[in-house]
């Protein structure tokens, strides 16, 4: 149920983001979803890609600091209150969302949200029990 995301440390200086994109593009890596968190000094670019090993290797060779993180991709009903229904379940179980972002593609009638939880296993169990569908990594990377 867990999905692998890669995270890249980026200094806040012009051209760095473009460089990451160019490096991945040249290597033939397709970006499926992304989120950029930033402070005044640095940022963290989080990506779901079609080929994470290729992406990691390519970025490392170019001198970037890269890490892998396990996240969860949850299908959310694409209607008002859809996101709220998930967050309510998590809140009831005191599971914290470290960060989250939306997936580019829809999955049927549903939207896909990528979550990073403080307690990943527990979150998967709780969401599964409440009937939320979580996407397998392989399916997601190929979407």
């Amino acid at each position: 149920m867990k999905v692998e995301q890669i995270s890249i440390f980026i200094e806040n200086k012009s051209g760095r983001l473009a460089e990451v994109a160019a490096v991945l593009g040249e290597a033939g890596v397709n970006i499926r979803a992304l989120s950029l968190a930033d402070t005044s000094d640095f940022g963290i670019l989080r990506l779901i890609v079609n080929d994470r090993n290729l992406a990691m290797e390519t970025l490392k060779n170019k001198g970037f600091t890269v890490s892998k993180t396990e996240v969860v991709a949850v299908e959310v009903p694409d209607q008002p209150g859809g996101l709220s229904s998930i967050l309510q379940v998590l809140d009831n179980e005191s599971i914290n969302v470290e960060y989250m972002y939306a997936f580019v593609e829809r999955c049927g009638d549903n939207a896909v949200i990528i979550f990073r939880f403080d307690e990943t296993e527990k979150a998967i169990a709780v969401l599964g029990a409440k009937g939320f569908n979580m996407l397998q990594g392989e399916r997601l990377y190929g979407m």
């Binding site: 970037f64 890269v66 890490s67």
Partner: protein, 435 residues
Amino acid sequence: MASYFNEEFETLPRPALEALQLKRLRDVLERVYAAVPFYRGALDKAGIKPADIASLQDLQRLPFTTKQDMRDSYPYGLFAAPMEEIVRIHASSGTTGKPTVVGYTKKDIDTWADLMARTLVTAGAHKGDIIHNAYGYGLFTGGLGVHNGAERLGASVIPISGGNTVRQLMIMQDFGSTVLTCTPSYSLFMAEEAKAAGIEFKNLKLRIGIFGAEPWSDAMRQEIEQQLNLTALDIYGLSEIMGPGVAMECFEGKNGLHIWEDHFIPEIINPDTGEILKEGERGELVITTITKQGIPLIRYRTRDITSLTYEKCICGRTHARIARMSGRSDDMLIIRGVNVFPSQIESILVRIEGVEPHYLLIVDRKENLDTLEVQVEVDERIFSDEIKVLQLLARRIEKEIKDMLGVTCTVKLVEPKTIQRSEGKSKRVIDNRKL
């Protein structure tokens, strides 16, 4: 006509001064040879007995003492007096985590007060002056050193210490301070704050500023004199030798700092070869303390770069003058008067788990205050995909540096390999300050 605190010694003819130095040099060598294993070993190794010293030239035969030697003897190994006789302990930055420790006997404190009083008079201060002492009080020798000298002189000392500039200005104005003692950069910071607070220095009673503990220039002197409406003079001292009051620029000559030769013997050496340089040549200042009891030091390498002149001074004092310090022969930085070695920051980074010491220190001066930025490369071991984890790491490094070194900095996390490496050894410091 200049006034003196101790006219006899300050104007002692050079032959008499040198005879006194030789007598005191032999005395201090006897004492350290008897009481300090480090010196007994060093002299034995050099094949010299204290009694072999027949002239001041023989000083050159003696080995140097370095800050590393003080570190190796941490904390009390170089003390020549038993602890029962040590009445005060001060410390300054060591090159790594441990400070450099010095101890004073009652007589040392007494000598220091005398020399500091002499220093104040040399700067043109006198009984009746109100001395606003903004040097830090504490382990740092600046505050207490000036304080004791001011009391010895019989001046009124305000032990204001550092910080809280607005309050300092109010007190300076209301108490009628006539002499200001602080770092030169802090005086300019005060000037800025005064403008903001609507205080004009020309309305204050300040007459003299005694500035030291960090390098400054004649251009900075002019700026200080103009902004603070006083005569700005240079003071020199270091805790290893005593503290403030080792050397002072005279009000009359305002050209070089008289080093008190009845207590200290200065030499200038080539820092690379150790060879003695001629009068007027620029090199590293080496000082031998000839009257200290607690921790006498023989040929201590100060790492400060200056030159020495024995030319007569119009103030009438016969003691040699050292030129304004123009740098260091090591990598020590002076940031807001605090001595900082890059190696100290490196040892803090190593201790914080996972931080590989690829770092760069960027020192600058903004609005007359020194700033320190520590750039640390983020590699995979410390990288987290959560912003708050990285921010916590940066704050933690800042706090450790503040706690250990007493200097405020900002930590900037940078990408790996962005800090330049040159021939295996990274460039650790960029100093953008223009003094």
